[in-house]
């Protein structure tokens, strides 16, 4: 008999404790970042959309080999006079539909001080058509 009542007491005490936790949290500041008004600044190593620097790239194809999903295609610049391939880039295309933002291309890129293909901190990018996913940089 006593067990019956102690059981009731224990059950209701546990239920009330649970309610106290939610009540306590009601008056604490919330964690939400209201996106359009407040924006989080991504940390320094954040892997945002890829950015390509046309001039410093030497068309060495290392990034094409490093990419796991082979979404980078490029064409080196051929000098029209001597039609020899120069260490410059003609056009460089990344298919963002297949890219999975893994930074392997940036690590493979040998260009010194600043890498020619690297991740920027941009995360707000949307497109309405699939073809827009193939971003192409053309060096005149």
């Amino acid at each position: 008999m006593i067990g019956y009542f102690t059981n009731i007491y224990k059950v209701s005490a546990a239920l009330l404790e649970g309610m106290w936790v939610t009540f306590k949290w009601m008056f604490r500041p919330s964690m939400t970042v209201q996106y359009p008004h407040e924006k989080l600044t991504p940390p320094e190593r954040f892997r945002g959309t890829l950015v390509f620097d046309k001039d410093s790239c030497t068309a060495c194809n290392l990034c094409v080999k490093a990419c796991p999903t082979a979404c980078i295609t490029l064409e080196p610049y051929v000098d029209p006079a001597t039609n020899k391939r120069l260490a410059k880039i003609n056009w460089y295309q990344i298919d963002f539909g297949k890219c999975n933002y893994c930074r392997l291309c940036e690590e493979a890129c040998p260009t010194k001080p600043v890498k020619s293909v690297r991740h920027s901190h941009g995360y707000e990018w949307a497109m309405t058509d699939r073809k827009e996913m193939n971003v192409k940089w053309v060096r005149p």
Partner: protein, 376 residues
């Protein structure tokens, strides 16, 4: 093995079973899983899970990707604990190459894997609360997980597909104030555990919904090859971090929680205790963080020698193993991923028989499967 359907023949009353499809579009199947239930009223006669909706053919992909590129694919197996997937792949390749990562890399790996275990168990805690009907724990759990993901974002650059643990070490050293932030997170986490206990663990309605349901006996657990918290929930003290210590786990003192009678409550309780243990491990790893560089010497084009190896670690969902056969060129000849969720799911067809519909959700939630890993 489909259990044969027991035809219930009342003398006059001919009750025939109702076939109910749980999934693949269902809020509580944690992904794209379909369970065909044969119901008699609310009691289940036969259950046949059907998988394969999220099959991306990682083993075929692995055969034409170089060893470092395969890391990116490994993030996508158990997408709630990508660090463990990276770690098991790196351990397999390091075994083939016979190289040993430096001391600091081991510590960093342990910190990352244990933080990832806390994040993965927090997702379990949140979604299991919702399966049983309590909505608030989910939000509280994801608030804590958000803090862990911020830490990962600072160290590796991404929130879910980290690609941080590399063959021979780690991608880069910790940023400057990372250790301070990690310690403050651990303090914050320690205050949250008593709250979780009052919110769900101690709640009599929750206990009433999970105690004695979906009982998995020790013999069943072993014959079904179940590993991880589900196995420890049935009382078998088997944890790869203690049995086959990899990347310097033997240096850390932590105990392995085991349940008593293998029902949903024990599996839930084991995971909550494991979170507390992981906090202890991360603290010890942070205290003993040695100096020194973080990468072993690894050739740029990786060509492991001929041979085959099986490396396994204690992932949050069980023992995750990689079996690779290499024929000495830069792409693996054959890779097989021993996914714990895929094997833990097999026991579903035997446990569910005889249960009620609302218990299906509790049992399925307590096994804690991730469909990315089931279908690979």
């Amino acid at each position: 093995m489909t259990t044969e359907v027991i035809k219930i023949k009342g003398a006059d009353l001919q009750t025939e079973e109702m076939i109910l499809n749980l999934g693949p579009q269902h809020p509580s199947t944690h992904g794209v899983l379909r369970v065909i239930l044969k119901l008699d009223g609310e009691v289940i006669i036969a259950a046949e899970p059907e998988v394969g909706y999220l099959h991306r053919g990682t083993e075929k992909l692995a055969e034409n990707r170089t060893y470092p590129q395969m890391l990116v694919i490994s993030d996508r197996w158990d997408y709630l604990s990508a660090m463990s997937n990276n770690l098991v792949w790196c351990l397999a390749v390091e075994k083939l190459l016979q190289i040993k990562p430096p001391e600091k890399a081991d510590h960093l790996r342990v910190i990352m894997v244990e933080l990832n275990r806390i994040a993965s168990h927090l997702v379990f805690f949140g979604t299991y609360g919702i399966d049983i009907g309590a909505y608030t724990p989910f939000l509280h759990a994801f608030r804590e997980r958000e803090k862990i993901l911020d830490l990962f974002e600072e160290v590796s650059g991404a929130r879910m597909t980290y690609n941080y643990i590399r063959i021979g070490g780690v991608m880069a050293d910790l940023p400057a104030d990372w250790v301070g932030k990690c310690r403050s997170f651990l303090e914050w986490m320690k205050d949250r555990f008593p709250e979780y206990d009052t919110l769900l663990t101690g709640n009599p309605i929750f206990q009433d919904r999970t105690k004695g349901i979906g009982v998995l006996s020790q013999a069943q657990a072993i014959t079904y090859g179940v590993t991880g918290p589900n196995l420890r929930g049935s009382g078998i003290n088997f944890d790869l971090r203690k049995d086959e210590p990899y990347c310097s786990y033997e240096k850390f003192k932590f105990d392995v929680p085991t349940g008593a009678n293998g029902d949903c409550w024990d599996r839930y309780w084991v995971r909550i205790q494991e979170m507390k243990e992981s906090v202890k491990i991360v603290e010890q790893a942070l205290d003993g963080l040695p100096a020194g560089e973080t990468n072993a010497k690894v050739p740029r084009i990786l060509r492991p020698p001929m041979g085959e190896t099986y490396a396994q670690i204690e992932a949050p969902r069980g023992s995750l193993g990689i079996y690779t056969i290499s024929d000495a060129n830069d792409k693996p000849y054959r890779v097989h991923v021993r996914a714990p969720s895929f094997i833990n799911l097999t026991m579903l067809q035997e446990i569910l028989v005889g249960q009620k519909v609302s218990d299906v959700v509790a049992t399925l939630g307590s096994i804690d499967i991730v469909l990315g890993e089931v279908d690979r």
